[in-house]
Symmetry: C2
Subunit: 503 residues, 2 copies
């Protein structure tokens, strides 16, 4: 077999993987949005089966041999094919390090834990949740040890690299130390400074259907492609599905539309990245998103940089009024100045997904520190609630004692076996600030366009800067080509200072 | 390897197949209910991939060898294991006769044709539909020829056996000839006799949400398990999903609730069969439904035998009134006598799924005759509309000239590559009449129970007679153990005479 033939065989193999990933993604989406409770056991088994099949296909000895063979023909491959081969190699390494039985056991335990969590969180029931989470963490640690051995990275870094290829916890420690030094005081100052602000909160009841209609209008305005995606409801909002059919979800609270509204715009940012991936390469590793820090940068670009800006809120205000007005919402509450103050109000609170932009990184740092300790064995599952409470008190001045529901049981990630994922949220926030800075330089009247609801130039810029590259570049290269430099946290700090300076 | 070990390996293999079938069924359901149009190409490819994988697993040489080996230990297997092995053998034979490339091509062409059909039918566009259907039929004929060669059956019978193991078109020809001789005159007489009936038709608008709420109430009343299933909307109603999570669909017409109402109860009959399959054997071939004629007998048992009866309508009337009353619906229209006349009104019409019980078999016979000719090469795709029109005129006195939408483009089956399926509808109707006759003998006050909305004894009887047996028995054995005799069309003829005699 020639190296060229080997490469062609690899493309065919990864196309097959793409098809199975499609079924798996859709079945996962369904389990969170549509599935009746009685279906969860069978679903968990089916998801574990296909996850194990995908791991077998990507991680097989045969795939490894084909990659080795294809490497000999590297010079005859196009640039994109070479990048594709590099990504195949990375996926093969990740898949082959861990045997499929362990992958399967991990998927099964995660599915059990996640399904139980939906109920147990509602009941604030830590006691019954703890053993299920322990099982997931034991299997995660087993995986981490094996991946560490194979990669030469620390166990935690070996997991982190699944989501953020090429990043290390020592880099993150440095950046996070800076934020940890800066943010608690900044949060306090901002709270102090905002005390005098007059906020007109829209009150009354906002029926789900009206919130949904507004969300659909705004998704359409910013460029979500409804021919290749939809919006539904789930306990924990997420962006799922496949690039050809992106499924985003939200949850509605009838007495407060703001949670769902910004949540939808956030997931829309993720969705636009998926929908904008390079069409010719969707079935191949190089056509996939470039890590979760970049993915999160696109959701935060949408939510934080664009949709919480004064320009966007002056465009969205009238639409919000049209959908949500009721006798308890004076016209003044829909004015841009008021919405801007509302949507950029700093108030330390329990729930990460509802956190303001300034306290959010502190939620992430808390989780990052705890999960490093969990993976390294320095923290026992039974001690999570206490450790959580301590750090919440230290970083945000809040106690979560006996409040598991709004404390350590609020997120889906650990239940789902995802460790090493949380830091990507804050890497994303920093990437987003840097990217938006570059977009403003490239599009001189950007804010005026946004205030008119015209996102064409911006979407085009994002497509050229990020979306259309898939995994062609490394993370550093991608940021370099998109913004002219690699990650520089100054932009994020600067953005926060601007965002929270008085109007 | 011992025969016992081989059998155990086969169970593990078919469990894996069960998991992939789960993903495939759910993705199919999604494509009909949730998927945006732009997702259809990727979905078609993913469905074809898993269909080909399942075919490979079930049809592989290795599976054949394991079956042969397990046969040597047959005496050491339990009765259920022996029946399971027989069903494995049957599935292996069906899967191994046709190579996976052809299965894949057939699945892809079907997916393309079905997806296009959704639009083209709306547009009454036969011209663009014809080449897509031709492609499906060519690949179907190719399959039929190979299956015929392998089984020694005629090409059409080889396809029929995929849905109705052990049946032949010569038996069906005989039974259908009898119905064809009896029904056209019976339909005419009944139309004549019903002419003097006063029907009070509920008119006005019946919002989808109210129709849905009524449907959910009735599904619950007759025993649909919502912990293991749900109700949604699609172009063509169907019962899909998996036994652990049964998904039924309907379509709503706001000016006529009756179409959706009886459609939902029909699919509920299918669903209850799936939900009632033997729990311990769900992942194995012997735990699957016993052919489509029996499956259809359960939907028609629910719809025709139970829900269109006077007893049921006297129970359902008040519920219907509670959900659907409006200024244009006088109280008298919800009375059992009136509903009975409405729901048993004979009126030859174009659409099979809306047909009354007496003309329905004539719709089936038309399709059966055409599809036999299509498979045998005696009818060209381009001649379908003319042949359809001719037979409609002959059997039901209706012309479908230039009306493809309500003629040969009304059904999903052929677009989806299902040939040999249609006759099972009428086999089902006959089985249903025979089973209901047996149930009445077994439960003396059955109709009184139904009129009170009490379905416990009846569901228990159906479970014992049919559901809990899965594929343990052959079709003939199953009818014998459930009713005391094999299929006897007298019960169906007798049922029609009773049903359409004046109140």
């Amino acid at each position: 077999m020639t190296g060229q033939t080997a490469y062609q065989e690899l493309e065919a193999l990864f196309q097959k993987v793409h098809h199975f990933t499609h079924l798996s993604s859709m079945a996962y989406w369904d389990s969170a949005t549509m599935m009746p409770p009685g279906g969860s056991k069978a679903r968990g088994q089916a998801l574990a089966e296909v996850s194990s099949l995908i791991n077998d296909l990507v991680g097989s000895r045969k795939t490894g041999d084909l990659i080795e063979k294809a490497e000999t023909a590297r010079d005859g491959l196009s640039d994109w094919q070479q990048a594709n081969l590099r990504e195949m190699q990375r996926q093969h390494f990740n898949a082959s390090s861990v045997n499929s039985e362990l992958v399967r056991a991990h998927a099964l335990a995660s599915s059990r834990c996640e399904n139980a969590w939906r109920e147990l969180r509602m009941e604030n029931n830590w006691k019954d949740f703890e053993p299920l989470l322990s099982e997931v963490i034991d299997l995660t640690r087993e995986q981490a040890a094996i991946r560490s051995e194979a990669s030469g990275l620390s166990p935690y870094d070996a997991l982190l690299n699944l989501y953020e290829p090429g990043q290390s916890s020592s880099t993150i420690d440095t950046v996070f130390a800076r934020l940890k030094a800066y943010l608690p005081d900044f949060v306090k100052q901002t709270v102090e400074q905002q005390k005098g602000e007059v906020l007109i909160r829209p009150s009354g009841s906002f029926p789900r259907e009206k919130q949904r209609a507004l969300a659909l209008d705004l998704m359409k305005a910013v460029g979500f492609d409804f021919n290749h995606g939809r919006l539904d409801s789930s306990h924990h909002p997420f962006c799922g599905g496949v690039p050809e059919d992106v499924r985003i979800t939200t949850r509605y609270t009838e007495d407060d539309f703001s949670e769902s509204l910004m949540g939808v715009l956030h997931e829309t940012g993720h969705a636009k990245y998926d929908q904008g991936l390079p069409g010719a390469w969707l079935s191949q590793p190089v056509g996939q998103p470039r890590g979760m820090g970049i993915h999160e940068s696109q959701s935060l670009f949408q939510e934080m940089q664009v949709c919480r800006s004064h320009a966007f809120l002056s465009f969205a205000g009238p639409l919000m009024a049209a959908h949500l007005s009721n006798p308890e919402t004076p016209n003044a509450c829909w004015e841009a100045d008021n919405l801007y103050r509302l949507y950029n109000h700093v108030q330390p609170d329990y729930i990460r997904v509802n956190a303001d932009e300034a306290s959010y990184p502190l939620h992430v740092i808390l989780r990052y520190e705890l999960e490093k300790d969990l993976v390294n064995g320095n923290l026992k599952v039974r001690d999570i609630p206490e450790a959580w409470d301590e750090k919440m008190q230290e970083y945000l001045g809040l106690s979560t004692r006996d409040n598991y529901r709004d404390g350590c049981m609020q997120d889906i990630h650990w239940t789902h076996g995802m460790f090493g994922y949380f830091p990507t949220y804050t890497l994303g926030a920093m990437n987003a600030a840097q990217l938006y800075h570059a977009a403003r330089k490239a599009i001189p009247n950007l804010e005026e366009q946004i205030s008119r609801g015209d996102f064409e130039a911006l979407n085009h810029w994002q497509s050229q800067a990020i979306w259309s590259w898939g995994s062609y570049y490394s993370i550093d290269e991608l940021m370099l080509q998109g913004t002219g430099e690699t990650l520089n946290p100054d932009y994020f700090i600067h953005h926060l200072q601007q965002r929270f300076s008085p109007l």
